[in-house]
Amino acid sequence: MIKQKDFKTRLKIAKSKLKNNSESDEEKRGSFIGFAFKLGTELVASVAVGTIIGFILDTWFDTKPWLIIIFFFLGSAAGILNVIRTAKRMQEEGEVKE
């Protein structure tokens, strides 16, 4: 009987511990490293895609080199927008977890 009681209290302690740090520091760090990896490529990919779209449209409409220039800047803007969005999401998650 004593043993069972002992087990129950131990289970209670373990459960309360589990509740307290359901979101461990390592888990948090993991998802942030994930987002950090995201930031870099996000910027580059948007610029690349914008430039490629500009290049394709240029060959279609025969307007070299104007559309490629315009779309390069639009792509850069899209990249920066993406990075800002990801950063915002990171901040929100950090605030929720803390």
Binding site: S31, G34, F37, V44, A45, V49
Partner: protein
């Protein structure tokens, strides 16, 4: 010992050449390692779910952890509406993870270090998410490109920027995975080459680096699979719960 660090990425044919309508679909080492990864996944999950014990064995514990990890990730990022897509995201994560991890074994081939593999995965996700978005919201899905609260003069500009940022999704998704895997494996081979060329006198430093880099690469292999899956969830979230 002059080995090319890029040699590890070469794809070669195993067995006879198979051609259908001019397209080469021969069995290559890439196909072999994909099958090995898939077989390893099946074996692992089969062993993990074979005995459903109340007090789990180690392998059952890992399988359950994996299930919980993905289920939590989906409900955190995409909400309860994304539940039906759990099998797809679980398979995606586990496949990328196992391909990356199998690639960490010596003498093996890393499937995910080829852009064609990651790009096809990313394009499939991109097309699927777009189709799901249109099925759920009809043409209302196009509201994704028109953010609210933007002055009318800026609207065409913002819409073009939004479309570019939407189209850049598969590119960033695939390039991230491919570049990380390829860079990591190239670096490992370069440092391995240094060990050989510096010999007994100076080879110890690059050897230490190699050991440290192997640890880092295992972290990257896991993280990239995680990032791939979580971004799929985020894109799915945009398609399921339209909010702009």
């Amino acid at each position: 010992m002059a080995t090319n660090p890029m040699q590890q990425f070469s794809v070669y044919r195993i067995g006879p050449e198979i051609k259908i309508a001019g397209i080469d679909i021969s069995f290559t080492n890439a196909s072999l390692f994909m099958i090995i990864s898939a077989a390893a996944i099946c074996l692992f999950l089969f062993l993990g779910t074979k005995e459903k014990k109340l007090i789990p064995s180690k392998i059952q514990l890992i399988a359950e952890l994996l299930y919980n990890f993905i289920a939590k990730m989906i409900s955190d990022t995409a909400g309860s509406k994304a539940k039906p897509y759990f099998p797809f995201i679980f398979s995606l994560f586990v496949f990328v993870l196992f391909c990356n991890m199998v690639g960490m074994l010596p003498y093996s081939f890393t499937v995910t270090s080829h852009i064609i593999v990651t790009l096809i995965l990313a394009i499939f996700i991109f097309v699927a998410v777009t189709v799901i978005g249109f099925l759920k919201h009809g043409f209302g899905y196009l509201k994704l490109f028109v953010p609210s609260g933007v002055p009318a003069i800026l609207l065409p500009l913002i819409t073009v920027i939004e479309i570019i940022s939407y189209l850049s999704r598969p590119v960033s998704l695939s390039v991230r995975l491919f570049a990380n895997m390829m860079a990591g494996h190239t670096m490992l081979k370069v440092f391995g080459g240094f060990v050989i060329s510096l010999g007994l006198l100076g080879g110890w430093l690059p050897l230490g680096f190699s050991v440290a880099l192997t640890g880092l690469e295992i972290l990257v292999a896991f993280l990239q699979a995680y990032v791939f899956a979580i971004l799929t969830c985020i894109y799915l979230n945009d398609a399921l719960n339209l909010h702009h």
